[in-house]
């Protein structure tokens, strides 16, 4: 299999943009990624577009026709919170397998405001269980009971990520929050308060992927290696135990470390799926970035801060940047590529060489990418 590198990335700022369509968000990110890579759109051989909410038939085609109708195959991917990673995973497979040399992966989302409408025939609506933050609330309560974590330690994830978000020009929320403000915000799914649940957001992200062996032909920019690309779904047992443990993240991480030859201790910086504060802690433990049951201590001791032992979500994560579902996974890789290149701006972690990105979502999907210097 051929090695695959990221040669450029672009973002459309995350936030609320009433006057913009998903086409505006996605095409802006795609144009920036091409410019960052120094690649012209007609050179791109395949494009994969990720989204979650219904946009219209062939949304990727509609986004990318803004760049010109070059005639290449364009695919559309939906895979809940891992949609962006899934699009990259697919492009990675196509390039590593030798089918194509040069791919663009883009994702964009216009998130519905307020309560997401539910189909009347979906029966679980009558149980009150059809709510993602409810699942995270169950996880938080179980984690507290199992490991003796104080609610303050879990809420501290939000304090950290909102502080980091202030350093990020693309974040939706750039306001520091105190622990008292996080704990004092209105309750959503006890013990999780509003400021521990990621906001819904509009945004776009894109990367250009290339086979390493021909990258110099297309681009003169510094290539960053995709050292591992993993996508899975929960097995029966992992699904059953999902309140207590992110089992398929454990398995995805094992596969990612096997693919890359790295170990958890080698990771210099990570972007981890913090849809809820407890999510960051449990996912970091599942990946092996901190010992099981001790993730909350890592947060309290500052070990996951930008200057800490293992910086987690220096970008501000989903908590401060928001979560445009189809763009989030790609956004992680754009920012980690910048981190490794030393282009992280005020978010920059001290000289990272190896970075890990992780997303997980509804349906039991989990995805991990590891990036490294060549």
């Amino acid at each position: 299999m051929r090695e695959v590198v990221i040669i450029g990335g672009g973002l459309h700022k995350f936030g609320r943009f009433a006057d913009k369509s998903f086409v505006d968000l996605g095409s802006e990110a795609a144009m920036q990624a091409l410019e960052d890579a120094g690649v012209e759109w007609p050179d791109i051989q395949i494009a994969v577009y990720s989204h979650v909410f219904d946009q219209m038939p062939s949304p990727g085609e509609r986004v990318l026709r803004e760049l010109g109708l070059s005639g290449i195959p364009i695919m559309n991917v939906e895979n809940a919170c891992s949609a962006g990673h899934t699009a990259i995973w697919l492009a990675h497979k196509l390039i590593s397998g030798g089918v194509y040399d040069l791919a663009l992966v883009a994702g964009a989302e216009k998130m519905p405001r307020g309560a997401v409408s539910v189909d009347r025939i979906f029966p679980d609506r009558l149980l009150g269980t059809d709510m993602m933050m409810g699942l995270y609330g169950l996880r938080a309560r179980k984690y507290i009971a199992e490991w003796g974590a104080p609610v303050e330690a879990i809420a501290q994830v939000s304090v950290k990520n909102h502080r980091n978000g202030c350093l990020n020009p693309d974040a939706q929320y750039t306001k520091e929050l105190t622990l008292a403000e996080v704990l004092g915000s209105r309750m959503v799914a006890d013990p999780l308060t509003l400021y521990q649940c990621c906001p819904t957001t509009d945004g776009g992200a894109a990367v250009v992927l290339c086979a390493k062996e021909v990258a110099g032909k297309y681009s003169d920019r510094m290539p960053i290696k995709i050292a591992a690309s993993v996508l899975n779904t929960a097995t029966y047992k992992e699904d059953k135990d999902q309140i207590l443990e992110m089992g398929n993240t454990v398995r995805a991480a094992q596969e990612a470390f096997s693919q890359s030859g790295f170990q958890p201790k080698d990771i210099d910086v990570a972007e981890v799926h913090d849809a809820a504060t407890i999510g960051e802690i449990m996912q970091a433990e599942a990946i092996g970035l901190c010992p099981k049951g001790k993730g909350w201590r890592f947060v309290q001791e500052g070990k996951t801060e930008i200057y800490g032992q293992i910086p987690i979500n220096p970008s501000g994560g989903l908590q401060s940047q928001g979560h445009p579902l189809g763009a989030t996974g790609i956004r992680q890789l754009v920012q980690l590529t910048r981190q490794i290149k030393g282009e992280g701006g005020r978010m920059q972690v001290a000289d990272p060489k190896i970075a890990l990105a992780q997303c997980a979502g509804a349906g039991g999907v989990t995805s991990i990418h590891i990036l490294s210097k060549l």
Partner: protein
């Protein structure tokens, strides 16, 4: 017959693969699960293939109504626009004695009395009337 039945109105299950209404007088409402003779797992809901090992030999199993609370949360925002239940409300996940797990609203319990590990039972109640005026029966959780 009840007066409702005489008027042509009846009770319906919100999800027949998990909750079965009596087919004859004297029968009880049943919680339906599956048990795999091949790998031994038991879970809520009738299925054609074992969700663990994909065996086609999966058998229907009537589940008991007792179990322990794995975890719970109190939800303070409406879960969907059609929600007619109380606000806030509790949701719990219970490990039933046979090994199956069930997640639903917790009723008849003050929030502050909820504890991880407490004994729970499954109850059946009407959640709403559907368009035809039928009572829609769901399962909910109750402290035992």
């Amino acid at each position: 017959m009840s007066s409702d039945e005489q008027k042509g109105k009846k009770t319906v299950s919100f999800k027949p693969s998990e909750l079965r209404l009596p087919s004859s007088p004297g029968e009880e409402i049943r919680l339906i699960g599956s048990k795999c003779p091949n790998c031994g797992v038991v879970y809520l809901g009738k299925s054609r293939f074992c969700r663990n090992c994909s065996s086609r030999d999966i058998l229907e199993e009537v589940l008991g109504r007792k179990g322990k609370l794995i975890s719970y949360t109190i939800i303070h925002v409406p879960p969907n626009p059609l929600w007619k239940g109380p606000m806030p409300y509790a949701v719990g996940r219970v490990a039933l004695q046979e090994g199956a797990e069930i997640t639903s609203q917790i009723v008849n319990c003050a929030f502050e009395k909820l504890r991880v590990g407490m004994e729970m039972e499954v109850i059946f109640e009407s959640a709403e009337r559907d368009e035809e005026g039928n009572d829609v029966i769901v399962y909910r959780l109750n402290p035992a």
